[in-house]
Amino acid sequence: MTQNDITVLAAERPDFAAIAAWIPRGASVLDLGCGDGSLLRYLKKTRAVRGYGVEISDLDIVSCIANGVNVIQDDLESGLEDFEDGSFDFVILSQTLQATRYTEALIREMLRVGREGIVSFPNFGYWKNRLCVLRGNMPVSSELPYQWYDTPNVHLCTLHDFEMFCDRYQVAILDRRVMTGEREVNLLPNLLGSTAVYRFQRGV
């Protein structure tokens, strides 16, 4: 991966840079739903992480292997039984949360296997999404590129929803970054931010 690739990736996936900013050099990382391994490759290059991806798609398995990323073919929804308690510094779920069926169980598994969890997801409360619904249609955008009938997303949520979820299930939020494109959003994030990234650990 060249410096140019890194720049291109960072521009296409602003959540990558946000995630990388939280990860110290040499950390161990498990990337759930790792796709073609882009994030792990990015973190290997920028943070020298040691990591594994978990992915179910056959095509992505070949891409990960070609990208030199360790990948374990498995279905996240059936649990992370191959991974031992506390065996990773970070367990990441990047742009996958909204497509998981058993979301609460998965977050629990993330915090069993990892010291900290990181999730990124499209904010359904973003004003453009709200406007679409007000106009009478489900939103379709670069963050939510599916029609209602072919979307893999079953658990879309807003920033507020996710924070309430964390509160209810004793998940302690450590940090949050909200973005629209590459721009960080601090004012009215649940309205003005299109993507959210959270870092969290087990609460007490």
Partner: protein, 379 residues
């Protein structure tokens, strides 16, 4: 699909070893021969060598064909060759017939120089560790200090795993395909029935049938028929044979009626016509004994603590002999020991035999992995 050239004409070679080999059982073989074939060119620093380990009935003829026998194509010719996943344009590929085999390497049917008779029942019971030790001597002879990869399916996959444990510094990558970290009671039970078929054949003569000029064909045929059932999936059998009848009707007899009976008997007869019964016994025992955790109180995590290689583990969805769940038993201790490991579960209908079949996704996985391995050394 990348077009690939046939590997073409290949020939077998024979290496002789005069240093005694001490088996895990304590038995000693004073001297022995190993037949092997190589494909591709060994590079200047000898860093591009791949060892292909064979399974129960395999041998050194992995790919290509012989000048005087062009129909005799290697058992993994779809995988190994120019432009194929195990690419002989990049790698120097070594295949051998394991010690105890019946395709040219010293085995029970070879003449014991001390008696002038075939070893027969006197040939030592062999383990996967013993094979790896003998393979390392062949590597020494060829000047290969470290393999770029050791690759095998089934029992061959077990040898590949054992390489990472016996000689951690001599193998950079291990590809364990359709393998398991040890046999289950059910696997051993199948092997025991197969062995019983051979051992109880009156023509077996306690393993010394050579001197009686007979072959325990019936036992060997039964053993192979049973084995063959475990290599195929229920689906593929249903698909290929279903309840098809040869005559299209019930004959109310014990002759061959169903197509599956005809197929199994054909496979059994074919196998019994060339395979050595003692070799079959040895191979199944090597399978039964394989258990790297055995010396570590059953703890596979501890067993794999020695490994230094990177791993690719592959399983097939319909393989019920070594199911995907068994392959994950290999993956877990590698994760525990923080080895580089990737795991692919290939959707295939062909059961355990899938590892020998051409399958685009399976081949893409192996190709992608080995292309990166090839990137690690200068051409």
């Amino acid at each position: 699909m990348i077009l690939s050239e046939p590997l073409g004409i290949v020939s077998a070679q024979c290496a002789q070893f005069d240093t005694p080999l001490i088996f895990r059982s304590g038995a000693v073989l004073p001297r022995y021969e190993l037949v092997y074939e190589t494909y591709g060119k060994l590079n200047a620093d000898k860093s591009n060598a791949i060892l292909v380990c064979h399974a129960l009935s395999g041998h050194h003829h992995v790919a290509g064909y012989y000048a005087d026998d062009t129909k005799n194509i290697g058992w993994w010719d779809n995988m190994v060759g120019s432009g194929k996943p195990i690419n002989t344009n990049k790698f120097f590929v070594l295949g051998l017939n394991n010690l105890g085999g019946c395709h040219g390497s010293t085995g029970p049917s070879s003449i014991d120089p001390q008696t002038g008779q075939p070893y027969g029942a006197n040939f030592p019971v062999i383990t996967v560790e013993d094979w790896v030790a003998s393979q390392a001597r062949l590597a020494d002879l060829l000047g290969i200090r470290q393999f770029a990869a050791v690759i095998g399916g089934s029992l061959g996959g077990m040898q590949a795993l054992q390489w990472s444990l016996t000689f951690p510094e001599r193998v950079r990558h291990v590809l364990a395909i359709a393998a398991a970290p040890h046999l289950t009671a059910q696997n051993i039970a199948f092997n025991d029935v197969a062995r019983s078929a051979i051992l109880s054949d009156p023509d077996f003569h306690g393993g010394n049938f050579y001197r009686h000029h007979v072959v325990p064909t019936r036992g060997l045929r039964l053993a192979r028929m049973l084995g063959h059932i475990t290599y195929l999936s229920d689906d593929v059998m249903a698909d290929k044979f279903g309840r098809e009848l040869r005559d299209g009707k019930f004959n109310y007899s014990y002759e061959i009626e169903f197509e599956i009976e005809s197929y199994l008997r054909y496979q059994g007869d074919k196998f019994a016509s060339y395979f050595d019964a003692n070799t079959y016994l040895l191979m199944t025992k090597a399978l039964d004994y394989f258990d790297p955790a055995h010396d570590f109180g059953g703890d596979l995590n501890q067993a794999f603590a020695r490994a230094q290689a990177d791993f690719l583990v592959i399983s097939f969805t319909t393989d019920w002999r070594f199911s995907p769940e068994r392959a994950r038993e290999i993956v877990r201790p590698l994760l525990h020991n923080r080895r580089n490991v990737s795991y692919a579960e290939i959707t295939s209908t062909h059961g355990h035999d899938s590892f020998l079949m051409e399958h685009p996704h399976y081949f893409d996985v192996v190709r992608a992995y080995l292309d990166n391995v090839a990137g690690e050394f200068a051409a």
